[in-house]
């Protein structure tokens, strides 16, 4: 097993911003991402009020090298933390054939 140490960035936030973030994440150097529908509660959840067939909150997971992880978190915190409901965190993962996910940049 070749396991490659990388970072898993997780962002949970209002649906309205998550697609934008997902697209940006690719531009910032990720090779892919995984999105899922969740239900959330947080300090600003009253802001989270879209009524539609879509989930109101979404979770984005991205496996990236450490530097890209920092770029992503900086991007997210600069652009969305002030006015949108969202949270972001980082954790350590060991990825199978992880060199694939180091990607362009």
């Amino acid at each position: 097993m070749h396991l490659y140490p990388l970072k898993l960035v997780t962002v949970v936030g209002e649906t309205v911003i998550m697609e934008e973030i997902a697209e940006e994440v690719i531009k910032l150097g990720a090779t892919g991402f995984t999105l899922s529908d969740v239900v959330g509660h947080g300090s600003r959840s009253t802001r989270n009020v879209l009524i539609s067939g879509e989930a109101k909150t979404r979770k984005l997971e991205v496996v990236v090298p450490s530097e890209v992880a920092v770029t992503i978190l900086t991007y997210v915190s600069h652009n969305y933390f002030e006015h949108y409901a969202c949270i972001a965190w980082l954790s350590d993962v060991a990825v199978v054939r992880g060199d694939q996910y180091v990607g362009k940049q």
């Binding site: 209002e14 309205v16 911003i17 009253t46 802001r47 989270n48 009020v49 879209l50 009524i51 539609s52 067939g53 879509e54 989930a55 002030e82 006015h83 949108y84």
Partner: protein
């Protein structure tokens, strides 16, 4: 608090000009309220307030929304095709112009009242104005059911007007909000206070998204489809499609009940926020529609609409969007607190229109002389 009072006067005064008017409104109200559609809405509110177990899967809610929009468009296109064959555009162009005019006016009146009477921030004022400048397809559907039940069906091209009314209001409010915010920011920056620049690209993107959003695409798309297929198909082949989408039919009416049940559930949850938004916004959510509704009824009459048509136009002008507007506002005016706009549109104006507004607009339309 002066202006709200003035607004109130403007909106309701005409109705009490003569004596029997009030009794007639009460009767209209009764006839409207004690029917399945508003009662389902009420059931939804009650269920939420007592923490009852009714839950409508969001996919069902969303599917019904799709059906309703398609239906409004398709039947609209079908009727338009008949209208067009009979009268060309002669009966339609005036109401269309009036609708566009109202679509441009209402976000501005809303913004002015919110900003200068209510003293709300630019972003919040523009955000709420975007909701009130657009329209609610469900309010249209309920108003349409109402006038059909009173045996005064609206002119056939009303669905076309709904489609016309969807976009301009949102666009104007967002542009207004973005421009004024930028100006304010520039002023602040001159004062030495830092301020983030608005992303222009986002505004364009949001406007594009509004104009190609689900509501418009489905209503306008099906309008064309209904128009074209009415022209080219024989009646027998057209029949099953007509029955399926038919707004007097069992599917439309029945699904509208389920839809309003869910809207009641959502509105019920929002009722708790009434305290947060304060008395000004509550008053705004009731009086602004009355004013806009009166304008709709009156100008509709000037443009030649019949009694049902004036009522429905009043209702859609008075209604506030809670589907197309929220994401657009959220993206372009993130400082705007969505609790304000959604609570006003959904927990105040929508129920008010469903329960009281529509019969009132009906009386207004009668009063301005529509038949």
């Amino acid at each position: 608090m002066l202006l709200p009072a003035a607004l109130f006067a403007t909106g309701l005064m005409p109705l009490f000009a003569d004596g029997g008017q009030f009794a007639r409104i009460v009767e209209s109200l009764e006839r409207n309220l004690l029917t399945p559609i508003p009662l389902c809405f009420l059931l939804g509110i009650i269920s939420t307030r007592i923490h009852g177990g009714i839950k409508i899967p969001k996919e069902l809610y969303y599917s019904i929304a799709i059906f309703l929009l398609m239906s409004i468009g398709f039947i609209g296109g079908h009727e338009l095709s008949h209208e067009y064959q009979l009268h060309g555009v002669s009966t339609i162009w005036k109401p269309a112009l009036v609708t566009l005019f109202l679509g441009c006016l209402t976000p501005i009146t809303s913004f002015v009242v919110l900003r200068y009477v209510g003293g709300m921030s630019i972003a919040d004022s523009a955000g709420i104005a975007a909701h009130y400048g657009s329209t609610s397809a469900v309010t249209y559907a309920v108003a349409n059911s109402f006038v059909e039940q009173t045996q005064h069906p609206a002119d056939s091209f009303l669905p076309t007007l709904v489609t016309l009314l969807e976009c301009p209001g949102i666009a104007i409010a967002l542009v207004l909000g973005a421009a004024l915010s930028a100006k304010e920011r520039a002023a602040k920056a001159a004062d030495g206070l830092p301020g983030k620049p608005v992303k222009k690209s986002k505004l364009g993107e949001a406007l594009y998204e509004v104009m190609t959003g689900q509501s418009i695409m489905l209503m306008a798309g099906l309008l064309v489809i209904g128009f074209v297929s009415t022209q080219f198909m024989d009646e027998k082949g057209f029949q099953p499609f007509y029955e399926f989408f038919q707004s007097k039919g069992m599917l439309f009416r029945g699904l509208l009940c389920i839809f309003l049940l869910e809207m009641g559930l959502v509105a019920g949850e929002r009722l708790g926020d009434l305290v947060k938004v304060g008395p000004f916004l509550v008053a705004f959510g009731i009086l602004m529609p009355l004013v806009h509704g009166f304008l709709g009824a009156w100008m509709g009459h000037l443009a030649g609409l019949n009694l049902g048509g004036c009522t429905v136009l009043a209702a859609i002008v008075a209604s506030a969007s809670y589907i197309a507007a929220p994401p657009a506002v959220r993206l372009t005016l993130p400082e705007a607190n969505p609790t304000y706009s959604i609570t006003a549109a959904l927990a105040i104006t929508f129920p008010f229109n469903i329960a009281f507004g529509i019969p009132i607009y009906f009386e207004m339309a009668k009063w301005v002389g529509a038949q």
